[in-house]
Subunit: 620 residues, 2 copies
């Protein structure tokens, strides 16, 4: 993968957060009143410094883990299983939130340009999730080119917007956002302490700009050689673009007087008014509402956010597959065969993301409270893991790097770990009551679940171990289940007889004496060479008498095996199948729990002559 | 069943409609303004006349069909299959609507007494549906006594209310409903034609008082001897109670000036105000808001409505069972064994009723639009069927009744058919745009579905007919599927060998060369006496290579049978099972579609020693 293609594929997620990060800062600062909004650039600058630290740290990961250095891999290698599982839980939540937040934000940006969309935002968001799911289920492999257009279009249009905006400011032209003149209704009195907390909260919200940084370090093996170097360069490029776009929009947002509030009433707007996103208001302030650039920015923003969501549709199933291979997730997610495992991941991801969107009514601000904690948890674990990695390199002395170089790298990762750790604590405290508590429950829950699954598979594996020598039952007793004397029953009897069992009977359950008598008469007429056993069922039950009969046979000769033959017929279409064989299915399932029993389905295919040609005529 | 017990069990549905029939009349008449509401008693009188005609007609059905004269049975016997299926569709919709309307109305009556309930009406209604479903799934058989309390309580409390109200009116005491002084905001100008249409619409709405009349004629066999006579007497009793209660409440409602509107604004009420039902307003007018009688009436009303809904939980599964026995519904609904068929009916009924409640937000007025059309469709078909029944009696001359008596009975049913037919047309035209169109789509849809199911079962039955003589395959080729060399695989090999097949191989699919090599080495070490075949799968698919191998074996010897043995392990808990055997399940399902193949599951039960005791040690 060349760098020009890696950038759009891997960076759609981190770059697209420009579309909502500034909004979140302003939403929080606005609680303190207009004066606090002017501090937006300072908060954004703090976030930008954090981005720089984290990206520089991650560049080292690209070199240290050329086979892919996701938080799970790095934690697993350096910190052990427990932290790795915490990282894995955090990452799974990240992927889910990437889908929920990105698509919700994309729809919000469309609604900023076309307000008629706003009342249907939830439905449209859910529709987009379903659309992405179907596309990924059908296996439409995104080509680099398909990704390139929205991502580069987004980058160029935002850069044009930012440059144009700065020119306007520098040439002294007015820059007025549509909300510039609006005053907040309620202005809480801010003291030193509450003000500081407000700044911390705004900073924590702004940290959404960092989501998705991990994608590149994860994908090192997909780069062209020299892989680590190219990945690292791409990260640097992403860093420059990210800081420029995010810093530029934040600065211009403050300059043009953009205001946002969770509650329309706080801005004196009617309850059903649609608040424009920061990018939409910037577009309106710089090039004018309804101009070409305004629409281009909004459409590219929505497109890049959709691409960002799509990255999770690849990442989540891969992570689930890795975890399943390590027995921490059900084996259905493990990557083997028929693409089905991948599909399971896509379906689970879509359902959870859809439920979150529905529950939070596609409200980006509310969803983001659930997003940041997981992101910084995996950052911190990954950075701490890297510090341990360098410690190990120092200790073993096998590295080709000099001690000074390792020390320098270790210092950088330690700074990264400290920074992300501090932010993690800040996020935890400032976001806890606003929704992060859900993540604080979800991560331990995921953790316990994964541990339980692992323990289960280990327990089963112990049971599965061969117990002594191979054994062979002495006799086979065949029991053919019969309800009517139709072709499937005749086939089952023939197949059972072909295995030449020690004993053979046909078994029928009597729920209606007339039917049973008719069956017995037909049996004699047709001279079926197998005895028919009729068991009575006064309560019209079918399964229990069969289970009891088979158990009895086994009790009488415990060293033998009982072979139960179930006649089934297969209809042409799968949806026709639900009209048939439900009783057979139930009996088969219950028979599996009996020891010394094997259950044979003898299918008869209806609608073609295939079944009968498979049978040889036999005299008598 | 004695009459005093039959009344509460069978009449909770028809009697409980008193709880909403008057409301519906006032809601429609109110559209014309206050003056039109005073015409409520006249509309109610017309409905009462219709009740009398229909009940008298149905009394004859009790005598003519002592084994139960539901609309489906009568139509099937006299009109043929097509009308009977239309009646069955209508009845199924009736049962669903009985649940939706009764519970919604019950909750609305509770909300009238306790306004705090109103915002949660939808959730509470859905909860009640779920509760009834669980109770009926667990098979809590309602005793007659349990039914008697709410139904007799309801009858007595309404009669007390009505009698007290009349005493107040006759003694000249004031009777003021809480809404008596409210004026409608908008009063549409009524001309002769629009006024007549309004009266027809109000009449059509009031006809909800007739729902549930069929229950008694359906249940004739459950009465004490003389069955028909007792059933007929119970019907008469029900008629008297119904007319008294419904007529009394309608008269007093008009007298006390009760007003209702779909839209709170039309009454000048705030948007979130809770409008009290007619019974609640009557209670307030007669005994006073918050008095004991007021609460007693509301609570018994809610209770009887819950009982009414419960009758559908018996009726629907029985009807579905009858239809399934005639091959018109999937056999899962047919009544045989394990109560499961009954459960399917309960689940389907609850889900559809729940969806309707959710979609129409538990709004009784909206739901009722979907109710009445089906009711009168089945009434009309049943009455026409009865006329045909008497024609047949006259023609055959086998009846013990005289010609004059038959003619008289035929006339009564003809009047009933004409009356219900006219009401059907009125309902169709006045309710069509308000929701009855949904029923006009649903009934043909049900009809087509039932026909398609019947056609399918007939086609399958033709295929199932024995084709010539019983046949016996010449040889059995055993294929044991193996992924690892664990105990289940060893068991499967032993069981397969015990059947002494003509040829036997173990088959494994190679998705990872290392794993396959390890398996082959272990195979040789353990000296497994069965050759191991390894098929390569470059795309890591499992199912397809197995299917191809088995098809090949069949192609080479088409007169033989291929027995595929699938090792499975059964874990202790059903929820653990979802972590296992998914691949085995998929392969088994696909193998069923191959001709000349039988598929054997060899289960190994983990977690107990049962499996190993079932096996005998064998030397070599």
């Amino acid at each position: 993968m060349p760098k020009w293609m890696a950038l759009p594929i891997l960076c759609s997620d981190p770059l697209s957060s420009v579309a909502y990060a500034t909004d979140e800062i302003i939403l929080v600062l606005g609680l303190g009143g207009v004066a606090w909004i002017t501090r937006t650039p300072f908060v954004a600058a703090a976030v930008a410094v954090l981005i720089i630290i984290i990206v520089m740290s991650y560049r080292q990961t690209c070199y240290a883990y050329p086979s892919g250095g996701g938080a799970y891999a790095v934690s697993r290698a350096n910190l052990g299983v427990a932290p790795a599982l915490v990282a894995a839980s955090a990452l799974m939540i990240d992927y889910i939130m990437t889908v929920a937040v990105s698509i919700s934000s994309g729809v919000a940006n469309i609604a900023s340009a076309f307000p008629g969309v706003a009342p249907h935002a939830v439905s449209i968001t859910l529709f987009c999730i379903a659309l992405l799911a179907v596309m990924n289920l059908r296996g439409v492999r995104e080509s680099g080119r398909a990704f390139a257009v929205p991502t580069y279009g987004f980058i160029v249009s935002i850069l044009v917007l930012v440059v144009w905006g700065f020119i306007k400011v520098l040439t002294g032209q007015p820059l007025q956002a549509p909300t510039a003149d609006i005053q907040y209704r309620q202005i809480e009195q801010m003291t030193g302490l509450t003000g500081a907390i407000l700044l911390l909260r705004a900073f924590a919200s702004g940290c959404t700009a960092l989501t998705g940084v991990e994608a590149i370090s994860n994908a090192v093996p997909h780069f062209r050689a020299p892989k680590s170097r190219n990945a690292s360069t791409t990260l640097l490029l992403m860093l420059i673009l990210s800081v420029t776009m995010f810093g530029g929009t934040a600065l211009l947002a403050a300059k043009s007087g953009i205001k946002l509030a969770h509650d329309n009433a706080a801005l004196g707007l009617p309850a059903d008014a649609v608040q424009q996103t920061v990018l939409a208001q910037l577009g309106a302030a710089i090039s004018g509402n309804g101009t070409v650039l305004f629409y281009v920015v909004q459409i590219f923003t929505a497109a890049v956010l959709l691409m960002a969501a799509n990255t999770a549709y690849n990442g989540f199933p891969i992570l689930a597959g890795i975890l399943a291979k390590d027995d921490f997730m059900p084996h259905q997610f493990a990557r083997r065969g028929d693409r089905l495992s991948f599909s399971n991941g896509i379906v689970v991801l879509s359902i959870i993301a859809g439920l979150l969107v529905w529950f939070f009514q596609a409200d980006v601000s509310k969803l983001i409270q659930l997003y940041i904690l997981g992101v910084f948890l995996s950052f911190t674990l990954s950075q701490v893991g890297m510090v341990r990695h360098w410690n190990e390199e120092l200790r073993s002395g096998t590295s080709t790097l000099g001690v000074a170089a390792i020390n320098r790298k270790r210092l950088l990762n330690a700074v990264g770990a400290a920074a992300t750790g501090v932010v993690l604590v800040v996020v935890l405290f400032t976001k806890f009551v606003h929704g992060a508590w859900i993540v604080c429950i979800a991560i331990p829950a995921f953790y316990i679940l994964m541990r339980a699954i692992k323990a289960h598979y280990e327990r089963v594996d112990a049971h599965l171990k061969p117990q002594g020598r191979s054994t062979l039952p002495s006799n086979v007793h065949a029991v053919v289940l019969v309800s009517r004397l139709h072709q499937p029953a005749l086939n089952a009897i023939s197949f059972a007889r072909a295995t030449r069992p020690s004993t053979i009977v046909a078994l029928t359950v009597q729920t209606d004496p007339h039917e049973s008598r008719a069956l017995m008469e037909e049996w004699q007429e047709q001279e079926i060479p197998v005895p028919l056993v009729v068991v009575d069922s006064p309560y019209r039950e079918i399964s229990r008498p069969v289970i009891e009969y088979v158990s009895n046979v086994h009790r009488h000769s415990p060293r033998d095996v009982v072979a139960v033959y179930v006649p089934e017929y297969v209809v042409t279409h799968w949806w026709e199948q639900i009209l048939h064989n439900q009783t057979a299915l139930r009996i088969k399932t219950r028979l599996l729990f009996l020891p010394g029993v094997m259950v044979t389905s003898v299918p008869t295919q209806l609608g073609d002559g295939g079944a009968s040609t498979a049978l040889a005529e036999v005299a008598g």
